[in-house]
Symmetry: none
Subunit: 406 residues, 2 copies
């Protein structure tokens, strides 16, 4: 038997003025049937009240304690972007940004959400001479990742991204007095200056200025993290998994834990993602793997926009594609559907509320749940569990747990 | 006030094709009345998803973390068989087995479930000359225990029991390169050879061959464990307990934690066990003890045989004897009835699903449970707790917990 962990990003919510959450408002016949024929519950992704990021939440759901293994966002973004990392690499998320040339202040943190072929900018950055090796990769639009290599680095340093406009790029400062932190900050500042110079000279930026578009004449760095090799899900639990996800961060977390990343055509991380294709690829990968983690990001995007209706409709759109999965749960598949964290539309940000969970397979007990939503889950037979418990629970139901004792 | 922990071995189950578990199918008026007048819940004996053995589960239920104290099966079997152990003793479970004399391959792992007076075989083994002290005790039928003494031993060694027939006895190998492991393996191999020679010469085996019965001409060893003295329940919790059980393993766990083992006439570990007598002895022992752990094994035996009807009837048989206990719970007794692990009849093996629990005494709150079964327990007011929590919960209800703080 195999199992599927279907994570609807930011799924959990709080009631709106009419007293309903998006999951309560949505018509979800497939998820409701899983709840009626299986069992529901609540998951605290990390621990009650803690507000999880998508990265720390997925670490928990894959059975590891984020307080022990979390490396900061940079390494996960870099892994998710397809880079190969080595022990000790210092990684960042990056943004192309626009500096106002006279004042040297940030005019646009995303360089007008620059898109298209940016290989000239990427090459210009990679041609910089630094006192260490490095690799820069532009990923989607203004976004990218930077990896510094070959020296002793520390991530106890500040971002160069001030997270606001009309201020200069921040100097990178060390957060402690160690040699590594001081020299890491110094290299980052050197990189930041040289990146600005290199980008100023790119033809693409001259063209953008001519076309009255904000030039990508600076690179903002944030999410510093030193990469450390993590023990994999296979090392720790003896099972082999795969991951279908649209976002780099989830792919990166999954990759850091040894899951095979399945690239699915049409998986965008947005509302236009090809849900059916993601689910089909996930089921396919189970032919050779014990489990698959699927992440659908769009529910979280709507939450961050405070778009209750959009989130509700996205949930309905996902539900409509679950018929095949529901059928498989009568045969050889255990499925769990849950959020990685709660993102209340009213808050437009993650919260520490527990997330709804439904589990159904041929081996599951049946509780009294009448549907899949926060209210039912609060009464559900799984009770209230921790994120790190879920993998073991699913392994047990899929017959992948070994006897401990005699 | 005193308390009773009544463990129905392997009680938890999963729904059959008709959607019912044995506990749901069974008519259990006494347990149901405890549930209606007390409260129910679910217990993860070790942690969610982990598949407990009876030994590791009982360690948890007695308030200890098995990951810290579990010694492997051998020492518990030896203690349960009545042997006195010393720090460092290397213990095994043993089986008399039949070797085919020409090929030296195992023909029967249980020597035709040999029974009767086997003292000649026991003596022959104990007369072997080994480079260390040892003690062998035949227990029930083909089963026994072996304890090696007086040297530095290691349990990082393999079994000689291949767990199948038509193969030779396995050589014992060390699992690491330590001196202790290598020398332990070497002594075990020497013992295994000498035991075979000694048994070959027993008159009983000549008689069995003549009667066309499989001779007990070899001894298979498994479950190696080095005995370490454990801190007792009394040391850790300040209360004194007793144990009524039919099986050596549960007795051994209880003994390793300082419980007094009450030997009850007619306690067999089988379906024919004298339930009434076990319960009467347990209540009697409470006159001088704070609590008693009772284990009834037969529910698990039926589960391992996949016998849903047998398990259901055994539950009903046990329930029928609980009238006296139910009455006591209105006076000075708190009782908890639960499984030590789930053994689904559909699986014929232990699983990591949580186990049903009911608690009732004159001090307990009352939840909305209508009866004692998995469905009610999933909604129960105790919620979902860990095995190690139970002892403290019962101590509290029986007024045996002291104020922590002020």
């Amino acid at each position: 038997m195999k199992f599927l962990m279907l994570v609807l990003d930011g799924l959990g919510d709080r009631p709106d003025k009419r007293g309903r959450t998006p999951l309560e408002a949505a018509k979800t016949p497939n998820m409701d049937s899983l709840a009626r024929e299986g069992m529901t519950g609540l998951v605290d992704p990390i621990r009650p009240g803690i507000v999880p990021g998508s990265d720390t939440a997925h670490i928990s759901l894959l059975g590891f304690n984020p307080y022990e293994v979390y490396m900061g966002r940079g390494p996960y973004e870099a892994l998710g972007a397809g880079l190969t990392l080595k022990e000790g690499d210092l990684c960042f998320r990056t943004n192309f940004a626009t500096l106002e040339s006279r004042t040297n202040k940030i005019e646009d943190r995303r360089a007008g959400r620059i898109s298209g072929n940016l290989s000239e900018l990427e090459k210009a950055i990679n041609d910089i001479k630094l006192p260490c090796n490095f690799e820069f990769k532009q990923t989607v639009d203004h976004r990218g990742v930077l990896v510094l290599r070959g020296k002793k680095f520390s991530d106890q340093i500040t971002s160069t991204d001030p997270h606001k406009t009309e201020v200069p790029i921040r100097k990178c400062n060390s957060l402690d007095k160690s040699k590594e932190s001081v020299s890491s900050a110094s290299i980052v500042n050197k990189f930041s200056d040289l990146a600005q110079k290199a980008l100023e000279e790119c033809k693409l930026n001259a063209e953008r200025k001519r076309d009255k578009l904000p030039p990508a004449n600076a690179l903002l760095l944030r999410g510093a993290g030193v990469y450390h090799e993590n023990s994999t899900v296979e090392d720790a639990y003896g099972i082999r998994g795969s991951c279908v996800a649209g976002t780099a961060i989830v792919k990166g977390v999954a990759k850091s834990m040894g899951l095979e990343i399945i690239n699915v055509p049409g998986a965008t991380g947005g509302a236009d993602t090809d849900i059916k294709c993601k689910l089909d690829f996930a089921l396919k990968t189970l032919e050779t793997r014990d489990f698959c983690l699927i992440n659908i990001k769009a529910t979280d995007n709507f939450s961050h926009d405070g778009n209750f209706k959009g989130k509700t409709e996205m949930i309905e759109k996902i539900d409509a594609k679950l018929g095949g999965i529901v059928r498989e749960t009568n045969k050889n598949l255990v499925v769990a559907i849950l959020g990685d964290h709660t993102t209340p539309c009213s808050l437009k940000a993650h919260s520490g509320d527990p997330v709804p969970l439904v589990i159904k397979g041929p081996t599951t007990r049946v509780d009294l749940s009448r549907g899949f939503d926060e209210k039912n889950c609060m009464q559900g037979g799984v009770g209230r569990i921790r994120g790190t418990d879920l993998l073991l629970i699913l392994m047990n139901l899929a017959g992948k747990e070994k006897l401990y004792g005699a």
